[in-house]
Structure formats: structure tokens, C-alpha cells
Symmetry: C2
Subunit: 338 residues, 2 copies
């Protein structure tokens, strides 16, 4: 018993996704069924491509946010299951298109769909899943929820284009970078958390609180992801260490290191990112510089900052098990990095 | 005056899009303004890419169908302008993604967006326009119209995947091919025509009639497009003659020629399409075989068949100038080929 207790203590300290998983377990069972059924099509290639990614073991954090936020606002219908599935489909569609845009080979430790079925199938199956997502939202019949999710779809694409336009530009400022991740990652977290109170017809204050929670959790989540890319192992991460570096992606640790470096170091970063001098020796040097300037640690510090905002956003809401679980997820997202 | 009259006579006989253009002129002015404003973004690359395609002079037939079908059912609000713009954005998004999937260099006589800004921008700006389309539909607030358009988005993507899966497969049957073009082209024509009566709260019979009109017009339109690819000039067509052939696309004229050919000719088709032996000499031989077997003429005959169904679908509707204009468009679509 002593051991079990100490493990529990550790989890408590580091935050945990387990309470959220436990609370949404029954509903997530229905989401997972709906995912399989709505990714189905007589056109065989569609479920093949879709299920390759769907079955690759993402945490499904976003649909859990929708389920928990609806329940904590007293929702008793079943529209939240469809909206949660829509949110996951929007995410899956984004991943399929992202892999094409980034020319990625590996996602969650598996070959990307585009490596197996080609870019074409990835683009088109992404479009199909987006269409299915909108159909499910329409089924639920809440124009407010539709508005929030359709708006987030535009914002996500806008963020991706912003990132593409800023690609390999080492002069990107921290503010510009935050605008990118707010759009490409945080907007969907925010929408996922906001549609819960919407279909529950909760007071406006709850809606605003959960929207802010989602947005700031999303920012923290993405920043930790950025840090992990330089500090995790392929196993934990499901992608290779240094993928962002090799793709010439500007992320927070890189941006901080560049700004804090000497003129000589800045020349190194430019050569690595803008001219593609990004072999293993360069990656090792990059991680060395990041360590010297504390860029990875400070990226996590930035994540903590947004995590605190997410926590305070939830504070005014009535105490519920769901609220506790959502708070716990903040620490979980941040402590992934350790 | 005599000359003018004889031109009018000729137009009448061949069908004309002019009455539809005249009837929807004021509303199309508002659609064109909305297109420009909703393709706008602080992210400069978005309007650049979007306007490149938007300004390349498509006929905007689909949004005109929405405007005319709403007006002929007595609609007096302004939601039809937003829905028409949504329809055009869905079409534009599809074209952006199609050019990536087909690796096309030329569209409507101009370089494709992917040739100028890359595949990545084309995928992402397509996603952005799709998001904007859904936002406008949500603004209109008709769940029925949303359902029809969201469903068509899924079906279009499904049709594209179907085409991809059947790519370069010379054994594709005519039925299979019709299923592809019904999904990838006719579904949006059908949805464009159906949302008019929906927002006009017209009787179900009108809705069914206009849906069927749109579907069959779309089939005719695509078949004529297939024929034009082997019979038009790059100027009329805005693409190169034989593009479908060089891309190894199975279309109606090719499918008919293959089925009607000798064993030796079938070997030629397989080599051309499946193995990519599609140089200019092969294209010339292909067009020769199509002429011998009447495959282009019979493709147009098939188009006429669906045109007749479209005409009869409209028959029960009350006589209005819009109805006459929609009938005239059928002949216009088919006579493009002459």
C-alpha cells in the first residue's frame, strides 16, 4: 500500500489526466464508436487512411474537454458526444493536412498517412473528415456551437498559413510566434471547451471562463510540445527528437536561443534554419546552445504562465469533479516534459 | 439590327447563360463583394492565393444557381447572397486542393496557385476558404441549408477519393465513373440549387425539383468538360487539350473508347494510362481512336440525356423568368462543346 500511495502522491503533484479520463469514460466510449462509424465510407480508402491516424493512440484530450465542459455545466442531452467527435475530426483533418504541408514521415511513432497512401489521399481524406465534422455539428442543431467551431476552423487554417509565411524566418518575434500557436493550436482547445457550456445553455460567464481556459491550456500545451521536440525521446514523443529543427520550424526554444545568442551564434541559427544546415552535429550544437541560454526551461516557464491563466479562468466556476479534473490536466500537460 | 437579331437567334438555339447573368446581376454584385471581403485576412498570403484563383474568371455558375433558385421561390431576404458566396468558396477550395492532387500546372489559362505559392499554401488556403464558407452558412442560420451544404462537402471529398482510388484503372465501368462525377461535381450543383428553395421556405416539391435539376445539370456539365478536354483548344478551355490524358485520368470519352476498342487498342490505352506512355503522338492516336468510335460525340449524347432530365425536373415549377433562365443554362452547358 505504501508504494501505491506514493505513486498517487507523485501523480497529484505532477497533475494527471486520469480524473478527466475516468469522468468522461462512458461518454468517450460513445465518441470512439461515433468516430469509427463517421470515418466509414463505401470508398475503402477513406476508413483505411482515417483509421490509420485515428487508431494511432492520441490522447483525445480535445473531445474530453468538450464532454467535461458540457457535463460540468449540467448538460444532460447527448449532443456533446457529437460535438466532441466533430472536434476530434477537425483535429484529425488538421493533422492529415499538416503532415502534407510539413512533409513529415513520422507521427505518433508511426509512418504518416501520406507516406503510405500519398499526399493526395491525405488531403482528400482530411477534407472528408472536415465535411463529416460539420455534418455532426449541424445534427446537434446549436447555431452558437456551429459558429464557434466554424470560426475556429478558419482561424486554424489562418494560423497554419501564418506559420508557413513565417517559415524559416529567424526574425520572427515572440509575439508573432504566440499569434501563430494561438491560431493553429489554442483556437481548437478553446472551441472544444466553449461548446460545452453553449449546448448546456450555461450563463455567459461560464462560457467565457471555459473559452479562456481552453485557449490558455492550448498555448501551454503547444509550448510544452515545442520544448519536448528538443528534449524528449522518440518513444515518449511519437516523433523524432529535433523534427522541428530539421523541418526548419521556428518554435519558442529556437526563437529564444536566437535572440539571446552572440552574433556568431545567430549566424549558426540562420545557416541551420534558413539554409538547411541541420544535420545531427548541428542539432547537437543547437541543443547545447538551448541549454546554455535556458531556452527549453524558459519555454516551459512560458507554458506555466499560460497554465496559471487557465487555472484562474476556471476559478469562479462552481466546484465539480469536472472542474477539478480540468485543473489537473493543466499540470499534466506541463509535466509531460519532465 | 438584322445582325443583332441573327446573333440572338443563334444564342437562343444554343442556349445561353446571359438571361441567368442578367437576372442575378445585382445579387452577384453583392456576392462578388462578399467574396473579396471574406477571402481577406491579415495574413497576406491568404488573399493573394485566394484572389489569384477567384480573379481568374470562372463563370460563377454555381452561386448564380443559388441566387436564381432562391428568387424563383419568392425569397426576399439576403441570406441567399451569403449562401451563394459559400457555394463559390466551397468550389474554390475544391479547385485549390484538386490542383495539388492532380499536380496541375495550368487552370483557366493561368499558372495554378500551387505552381506560384506551393502545394502547402494551396492546401491551407483551401482549408481557410472552407472554414469561411461554413461561417457564412452559419450566419444565415438555416440548419436545413447547413445540412445540405455540409453533406455535399463530405460527398465531394468522397468522390475525389473514389476517383483517386480508381486512378489509372482502365477497367472502371461507366456506372462507376458516373458515381464519381455525381459525387465530385454534381453534388455541389445540386446543393447550390437546393438551398434556394430551402431558405425561401418553399414547398418540398420545389426543393426536390431544384435538387434534381442541379444534380443532372452537374452531370451534364462534367461530361461536356470531359469531352472538351479532348476537343477544345487551350484558349477556350483555360487548360491544355489532353490534360486529362496526360494525368492518366479516366473520363467518359476514354472509357468508351477502351470498351469499344480491339484487343490491340486496349493494350494501347493501358500503356498510355497505366504505364504513362502519354506523349503527343499517343495523344494524337488517342483522339483518332475517340473519333473512330464516336466516343466524344457519345459523351455529349450522355450529357444531353442528363440535360433532358434536368429540364423535366424543372417542368412542374411555376413559370418565372428564373425558370426560363435555368432551362437556358442547360443548353448553354451542352453547347459549350461546339
Amino acid at each position: 500500500m505504501g508504494v501505491v500511495l506514493s505513486l498517487d502522491e507523485k501523480k497529484k503533484h505532477e497533475g494527471s489526466i486520469q480524473p478527466l479520463i475516468d469522468l468522461t469514460k462512458a461518454d468517450m466510449g460513445r465518441v470512439n464508436e461515433l468516430i469509427l462509424s463517421k470515418a466509414g465510407s463505401d470508398v475503402e480508402m477513406i476508413p483505411e487512411v482515417a483509421n490509420h491516424l485515428i487508431s494511432s493512440g492520441g490522447k483525445r484530450l480535445r473531445p474530453m474537454l468538450t464532454l467535461a465542459s458540457a457535463r460540468m455545466c449540467g448538460y444532460e442531452g447527448d449532443g456533446h458526444v457529437k460535438l466532441a467527435t466533430s472536434v476530434e475530426f477537425m483535429h484529425t483533418a488538421t493533422l492529415l493536412h499538416d503532415d502534407v504541408v510539413d512533409e513529415s514521415d513520422l507521427r505518433r511513432g508511426k509512418s504518416t498517412a501520406r507516406m503510405i497512401w500519398g499526399n493526395q489521399a491525405s488531403v482528400l481524406v482530411g477534407d472528408f473528415l472536415l465535411g463529416q465534422a460539420f455534418k455532426m455539428m449541424v445534427d446537434v442543431g446549436s447555431l452558437d456551437a456551429l459558429d464557434v467551431l466554424a470560426t475556429s476552423a478558419s482561424i486554424i487554417a489562418e494560423g497554419e498559413v501564418m506559420q508557413l509565411a513565417a517559415a524559416k524566418n529567424m526574425e520572427t518575434t515572440e509575439d508573432e510566434y504566440l499569434a501563430v500557436i494561438k491560431a493553429k493550436t489554442a483556437a481548437l482547445f478553446s472551441a472544444a471547451a466553449e461548446v460545452g457550456p453553449i449546448i448546456a445553455a450555461a450563463p455567459r460567464a461560464d462560457r467565457v471562463a471555459l473559452r479562456s481556459y481552453g485557449l490558455n491550456l492550448g498555448l501551454a500545451f503547444q509550448l510544452v510540445d515545442d520544448a519536448l521536440d528538443y528534449g524528449g525521446s522518440a518513444q515518449n514523443l511519437g516523433k523524432n527528437v529535433g523534427d522541428d529543427f530539421r523541418e526548419g520550424k521556428i518554435t519558442m526554444p529556437l526563437l529564444l536561443s536566437y535572440r539571446r545568442g552572440t552574433a556568431q551564434e545567430r549566424a549558426f541559427w540562420k545557416k541551420a534554419i534558413e539554409d538547411g544546415a541541420n544535420d545531427d552535429a548541428s542539432l547537437e550544437k543547437a541543443i547545447g546552445l538551448m541549454t546554455r541560454y535556458g531556452s527549453i526551461a524558459d519555454t516551459i516557464q512560458r507554458a506555466r504562465h499560460f497554465g496559471e491563466i487557465a487555472r484562474d479562468a476556471l476559478a469562479p466556476l462552481a466546484a465539480t469533479p469536472e472542474k477539478d479534473a480540468l485543473v489537473d490536466v493543466i499540470d499534466f500537460c506541463i509535466s509531460r516534459v519532465n
